[in-house]
Amino acid sequence: MTELKEHDKDINSFLEFASEDAAASVAASANQDGPLAGLTFGVKDNIAVEGMHLTCGSKMLKDFVSPYDATAVRKLKEAGAVCVGKTNLDEFGMGSSTDNSALAVTNNPWDLECVCGGSSGGSAAAVAAGLVPFALGTDTGGSVRQPASFCGVYGLKPTYGVVSRFGLVAYASSLEVCGILADSVDTTRKVFEVIKGKDGSDQTSIDHIPASADAETVAVLAGDLGLKPEVETAYKKAVDGLKSSGMKIIEVELPMLDYGIAAYYTIAMAEASANLARYNGVRYGHRSAEAGSFEDLMRMSRDEGFGDEVKLRILLGTYVLRSGFQDQYYTRAQKIRTAVRNEFDGVFTKADMIMLPAFPTAAFKHGDQSLDQFQQKLADKFTVAANLSGMPAMSVPVSVENGLPVGMQLMAPVFAEERIFKVAEKLAEVLPPAACPLSMAGQRTTEAK
């Protein structure tokens, strides 16, 4: 544990490490015959781990300690894995850099001046730095896949509902899933097999009914996609890589992608405004010391506890749900959600899989003015479709350009995670993922039993 803390000093991927004693006693009593025995893992700090903080990267929950484990965490522990700590994130999962965390700044282990991506940035950085072979994240609009791309690791957003959200702090309930950041396809698969499955504690959870794992044809986007040169180059390399592994490539167009961003943010913010209404300074979380009345207690606790990005989304969400505006925004967004989904369903009649970039840029520098919060939202155009439609998608490291990793996203119909894993393995043979220069290589267990 001391070694992990020392190695994390410049990266700052963890907000909290398990105490030496707690980790030792958990490791001693862990299921030595479980499928994940011997593996350590990190947990994004919006997912509950009993006895550890659950801050959501927010001043609102800075001192909150979780009384129970999330279902995914419980299953991992039962499978023999040992949780070593909680990782940094954009406040309540809202952002693309982890710089929206109110509690700490996390640096990209490939270049400490760059962001690690977000919102599951701490989890991605921890895996890239070799601190843990895998970490849990959450993906509402790309929050597992984009940081995976920025940090050169694998990042799976499973089919909606297949992994229980019990113990995951709600942001946008109809879009978010619990996902996996890992150092290999094999680790991702093993962790997914453990955490998936219907859970009585989450009414939206469903059983996983595996779809065909066969893939022959991969659809890619044609034309100018507005990518930075390093991502353009990586996309071409990945297409060539698929061809050399025997895949057939077809070119398609997805005109709904741009509208998908507007629909996604309308829905996500509407759901956020409702989900975050629970933070009112009464039962838990930050309470304003200044408030004299009950109403002030709520209003001031929320104002003091939330950061700007969270307030922005609550305001917009409240606005689009105001009476008189619902049809114009929220209902229309839900209809466009259907159109996005229909468009992808159409492509899946011609192709077994789609490959898109995870993000139009590689990791950018902290405070980069050319990519402000608004521009970062528009850049989610390749990732939000999977959340709107529910399909699984995984960011796969394919290249290192100018010293920074770039990942591509493999997307498949619902329940076809294994199809994605197989193609990702083929890609890894022709484009082997590079190790991060700052990785604690050799000091960890990378292969599960």
Partner: protein, 92 residues
């Protein structure tokens, strides 16, 4: 969005925005609302709304009582509590 509208929305969202904060957020809110306008370009007349990606029906289960012994543990997480109650300012 006009400033008045922003303040009405903030009141509905139970957010005590300072004037400085309202000024800072006003631009960002308007920028996103302008962006949302592009949704009007899509003909949605024959499209049903999607509320959830994969959930088709209500999830029902037997209503069986289960023991829950962490009541004290939960009340203790409140910012202020007394005799197993959560304390708030007077409402009357």
């Amino acid at each position: 969005m006009e400033k008045d509208d922003l303040l009405i929305t903030a009141a509905q969202a139970q957010l005590a925005l300072s004037a400085e904060e309202a000024g800072r957020l006003e631009t960002a809110v308007s920028e996103m609302l302008d962006y949302f306008e592009m949704m009007n370009e899509v003909d949605v007349s024959n499209l049903p709304p999607t509320t959830h990606a994969l959930v088709r029906e209500n999830a029902l289960r037997e209503d069986n009582p289960n023991p829950n012994n962490n009541q004290e543990d939960l009340v203790n997480r409140a910012p202020e509590n007394e005799d197993n109650f959560i304390v708030i300012p007077n409402v009357l």
